[in-house]
Symmetry: C2
């Protein structure tokens, strides 16, 4: 576990790296199995859905779902479905955000973006279909102790995707181009844009397992809030410092688009300190959960030290 005063972010150990690789492989296999096969009509749409989801990405949201599931002693077969659902929502948001009328990007996960590889109409329908698909897989089999809890999972995901969640955050983002945001305004945007789905990933993973006490759930929610912001701060630093090849997406595009970021608002050095503060905040939030929260703790470190 972690000490609050640790001056250096610990690097992830090989056992954790291997856990991550296992979860990533498991989620990939589940997505291959669950997504409509490319020979089912309409073939081009199903092929494009698979193109947008499979074979790429860090799978951070699935990893968080599995880590929270472990905390709650959840059946991995159930968490796997939740992991696929949040990853499909994430993939849908990338496909739509990359389109010409939004961020107009051509590279994602090391490949041409969906509308470049297919066409804009197909990309629109890929996003629309992936959103529906996430709700479908969350509702077609038992995933929680009882149907009422599962309904709560569906509600949380819907809110996370909504105009008061991820889609709303994207609207605020588009509206902020060329504006000088304050730090609280930037934080507000990211609490919605990336934070909402990250919080839902943790909560839904946990809800697959044994009921947590209200206090434990509060610890988790606090952790998620820190992690969501830390993830975005590090994303902004990487967008500014890493190369397109390493990222698998266009580097430097926020600055090019005149978008406010943690780096543009704080500078790199202060953004790094903020990421470290948020990492420590996340660790503190789950300290009381003890060893059950080990994977969540390791993920908090990983999210801050990652280089892609």
């Amino acid at each position: 576990m972690h000490s609050r005063t640790s001056p250096v972010t610990p690097n992830p150990g090989s056992e954790f790296i291997s856990w991550m690789a296992n979860v990533q492989a498991r989620v990939e296999a589940a997505l291959v199995r669950l997504l409509p096969a490319p020979d089912i009509v309409p073939r081009r749409l199903h092929e494009a859905m698979r193109y947008a989801v499979l074979g790429g990405g860090k799978r951070v949201r699935p990893l968080l779902a599995f880590a929270a599931g472990e905390l709650a002693g959840a059946d991995a077969a159930r968490v796997e479905i939740v992991a696929c659902a949040v990853e499909c929502i994430h993939a849908y948001s990338l496909v739509h955000d990359d389109m010409p009328c939004m961020d107009n990007d051509v590279l994602r996960r090391g490949k041409p973006t969906c509308h470049v590889e297919y066409d804009e109409a197909t990309a629109m329908l890929v996003g629309d279909s992936l959103q529906a698909f996430a709700f479908q897989i969350l509702s077609e089999r038992p995933l929680a102790a009882d149907p009422a809890t599962q309904m709560e999972m569906l509600r949380m995901l819907a809110v996370a995707c909504s105009s008061r969640g991820m889609a709303g955050g994207q609207a605020i983002d588009l509206d902020s181009v060329g504006k000088a945001l304050t730090l609280p305004e930037l934080e507000h945007m990211h609490i919605y844009k990336t934070g909402a789905l990250i919080r839902a990933s943790v909560a839904l993973g946990a809800l697959c397992g044994l009921p947590l006490s209200a206090q434990d759930f509060e610890h988790l929610e606090r952790y998620s809030k820190f992690i969501g912001l830390a993830f975005q701060v590090v994303d902004d630093i990487l967008d500014c410092e890493a190369t397109t090849a390493t990222l698998g997406k266009t580097a430097g595009k926020d600055a090019a688009a005149n978008k406010p970021t943690y780096v543009s608002v704080l500078g790199v050095a202060k953004a790094r300190s903020l990421a470290e503060e948020l990492r420590v905040g996340a660790q503190d939030a789950i300290a009381a959960l003890g060893v059950r929260a080990r994977r969540l703790s390791e993920l908090a470190d990983f999210i801050v030290v990652r280089e892609f």
Copy 2:
């Protein structure tokens, strides 16, 4: 009730017209209440969501949900939520379908389309948010006899919206531009594109009420299939014969876009006969349900005789 040999489609009576007006007003009021207020951040997105949903449309899907709810003795307060959910899904599909990369239309429900009144990025997020909103309102309060039944409602809606439902139908539609489809191919497209959500509207309305027998549910499903196709056949006839002013959307656009329609495949006279056959098929499907299915029966007539 209706006789199979009736040579003339009956016109809706004034009592039915008044029931329709009541349902439409009730759904409008519920949507006004449920949709995020326009002063909630992000304001422009919430304003645009309300623009896309409120103050227009025939509300055919809500009417079908209420008619099926009456059949099943459902609490109107529950059916109201289902009606809002299916209408928001419908509105989202119109917003996305009207965008330049899809059908590129400028007029809808007598007003400029959402991307014309706002912008393309906002229209994209309006559609994305309305889809999430539908799943949210279906999951945040009890709507069925038990949570397992409500989960089934969510599953049915998700499938109806999916790549094997409405979004898939739109993909087939885009792919059919300039092609000479056969009648079965045209039917296949519409079973997905408009039929899936119409079938879901009927099923979800019924699931708000007392459990129906498997046989009664089969009658309903058969009815929905006839109604979904009848609706589309009449839409194609109106697209060809009515004026833009009457329709509130661009008339003649299918022919202009070189899209196969029931009129282009069959001609107007045969399309009219087909609509009448489908109407009679819908009436036959629910004949065994008796007087409980009165509104469904009246709606089948209305859908075929409507002039807008």
